[in-house]
């Protein structure tokens, strides 16, 4: 199949979102690879997915001149950086951090208006994610607002 024949789809189409498995099954019957502006190329068959994952030289993550730790790396340099990441997300570290997350969630919810509809993502989730990340890394409150503005700009640019 040439690139011109790759099927276009919309992962955010309500029909897709209503039953994603059925949508993937339908796509897979039509083609091994589909394309959307939202997700780029989607590989639909298990065998092909494994090929892409395991052949890290052909399907390299290392596609930019900019240093990207560890996402933009392949083996063997990926391994020690990924090892560091993994040490910070152990069950023991998470268990110690859980009460902090609960407290952040509770305090944020206390600030929300009662008895009215709100956009959960805007009013809670984005601020929660930022506060949890700052608390996790021990970052000062003063960095929260600049980082919040940075996140919005970064999202708009990507």
């Amino acid at each position: 199949m040439s690139a011109q024949e790759i099927i276009e789809w919309d992962p955010r189409d309500p029909e897709v979102l209503n039953d994603q498995i059925a949508a993937y099954d339908k796509l897979r019957a039509q083609c091994p690879v589909a394309h959307s502006d939202f997700l780029g190329y989607s590989i639909l068959r298990h065998h092909d997915v494994m090929t892409v994952l395991e052949d890290y030289e052909t399907f390299s993550n290392n596609i930019s001149d900019r240093l990207t730790v560890p996402n933009g790396m392949g083996p063997p340099e990926h391994t020690p950086y990924r090892g560091i990441n993994d040490r910070y997300f152990t069950p023991a570290v998470m268990a110690r951090f859980e009460p902090v997350c609960r407290q952040i969630a509770a305090e944020l919810i206390d600030t929300l208006p009662r008895g009215q509809k709100l956009n959960f993502s805007e009013a809670f989730a984005k601020i929660y994610a930022l506060q949890v990340q700052s608390a996790f890394l021990g970052w000062p409150k003063s960095l929260e607002e600049p980082l919040r503005r940075w996140t919005i700009k970064n999202l708009a640019a990507t």
Partner: protein, 55 residues
């Protein structure tokens, strides 16, 4: 995009530099801990730390 990346780098580099200047008085947080992590028998550069934290 480049400008936005530099802006984030600036915040984090400042933070790393504050931690480093504090030496033994630096807070015992995960940022300090990350700054002492070793790859290939050396500590990570600021560039590596900023990238890891961004991701």
């Amino acid at each position: 995009m480049q400008q936005i990346a530099i802006e984030f780098d600036g915040y984090i580099r400042q933070l790393l530099s504050d931690h480093r200047r504090a030496g033994d008085d630096a807070p015992k947080d995960l940022t300090t801990s990350l700054m002492n992590e070793r790859v290939f028998n050396r500590i990570m550069t600021d560039e590596e730390l900023v990238s890891l934290l961004r991701n």
